[in-house]
């Protein structure tokens, strides 16, 4: 897994690339919590994620809950078919704010 961080429309966008599995999800978690520690609104761009396992999903869950507690905005964008299947299995597609891309999220924010 690789990641990049960029700023866009008032959000920090954490773009993950590759496989988010047990071996690297601790790094994804660290980056998510780091952004939130710095009080930044966060979007996780998953358009380049071809596989995410439960440990990766758990990191997203923890991130979302942390953002809520700190009154920060959080969301997922570009969730691929396989990642969506994993989210749907635990009905998390009904929990996370999910948008096609950053622009769609910004539009939804108004």
């Amino acid at each position: 897994m690789k990641y990049t961080v960029r700023e866009e429309g008032g959000y920090t966008v954490l773009e993950l690339t590759g496989e988010v599995d047990l071996s690297c999800s601790p790094e994804a978690r660290k980056q998510i919590l780091l952004c939130l520690d710095e009080k930044r609104n966060l979007l996780v761009d998953m358009s380049r994620v071809n596989y995410i396992d439960s440990s990766g999903v758990a990191s997203l869950v923890e991130g979302f809950q942390t953002a809520k507690k700190r009154n920060l905005k959080f969301g997922l964008v570009g969730v691929s078919g396989s990642a969506m299947s994993v989210l749907q299995l635990a009905r998390l597609d009904k929990v996370f704010p999910i948008h096609l891309n950053v622009q769609e999220r910004l539009k939804a924010d108004g």
Partner: protein, 272 residues
């Protein structure tokens, strides 16, 4: 519900022969199971299906033959290699096999602590809760196994088996002892796991209704030999008497082999 057969082999069994004491249980089993496939191993009592599962789990050395899993022959694997391979295997045992002194949540987290201790405590807790949600046991993590019903124990065992998102999942008689509604729920869960996680799933069962509902292919074992491997339609259409007996629940009218029977009872070899 046959789907387009995926073609990457995950489990390749070749000419597997096993004995229990002097008694031969499996007589040269050949079977290939592909990625993302739900393979049902079906057969009556004494057919060898539980024995086959035991060897698939690496719980014994066969007399001869090989079992390649993800390309590795487990009949030749060292304990360390087997330990690595088991990270990719989930097993839901017939009786659940939950540890009675641990809460449901602790039971579910057990494979993570065994294989993936580098994960953050919070990650492990959320993963366990996620899996309990998947099996419809959300919020039950603090209960003890003794406080669960039979169906709940089975589902908790499934949650534990899938906690590491294994590539291969083995179910031993998932429907045994469950009422039809709970049993149907478990079938649905098996299908969802395959579809969402692309798991390769092996189910040992004698429950026909369940087998026909979830199988991509079925292997019918009888007296340690494979009678046939095929889709649900192919198995139903088989003109093999033994298969039809199994499907129609007819009592086997096989003749007793007197000498072998007597030998088994007395455990004495026949005089040459």
């Amino acid at each position: 519900m046959a789907t387009t057969a995926p073609r990457t082999p995950v489990i390749e069994i070749e000419n597997l022969v096993t004995h229990y004491g002097r008694r031969q249980i499996l007589h040269g089993v050949d079977l290939t199971i592909y990625e993302g496939e739900i393979m049902i191993i079906m057969g009556g009592s004494g057919s060898g299906k539980s024995t086959l599962l035991r060897f698939l789990l690496g719980l014994g050395r066969p007399t001869s033959g090989s079992i390649r899993m993800l390309g590795k022959d487990i009949t030749q694997a060292s304990p360390m290699e087997m330990h690595e391979l088991r990270k990719n295997m989930g097993v839901a045992f017939q009786g659940g096999a939950l540890l009675s002194s641990m809460t449901v949540g602790e039971n579910v987290q057990l494979p993570l602590r065994e294989h993936h201790g580098h994960l953050d405590e919070k990650t492990m807790q959320i993963m366990a809760r996620l899996k309990l949600e998947v099996v419809n046991l959300g919020g039950f993590e603090d209960l003890m196994p003794s406080q669960l019903s039979g169906g709940m124990i089975k589902r908790a065992a499934v949650a534990r088996a899938i906690i590491t998102d294994p590539k291969m999942m083995f179910f031993d008689e998932p429907s045994a002892g469950l009422d039809p509604v709970v049993s149907a729920e478990l079938d649905e869960l098996i299908l969802r796991l395959r579809d969402a996680m692309r798991m390769t799933i092996v189910v040992v069962t004698h429950e026909l209704q369940s087998a026909f509902k979830i199988a991509d292919r079925i292997t019918v074992l009888d007296k340690g030999r494979i009678l046939m491997t095929g889709t649900v339609q192919e198995v139903k259409a088989s003109d093999n008497d033994r298969i039809q007996s199994l499907l129609n629940r007819r009592v086997s009218t096989e003749e007793i082999h007197a000498e072998e029977y007597l030998e088994r009872l007395t455990m004495e070899a026949r005089t040459p």
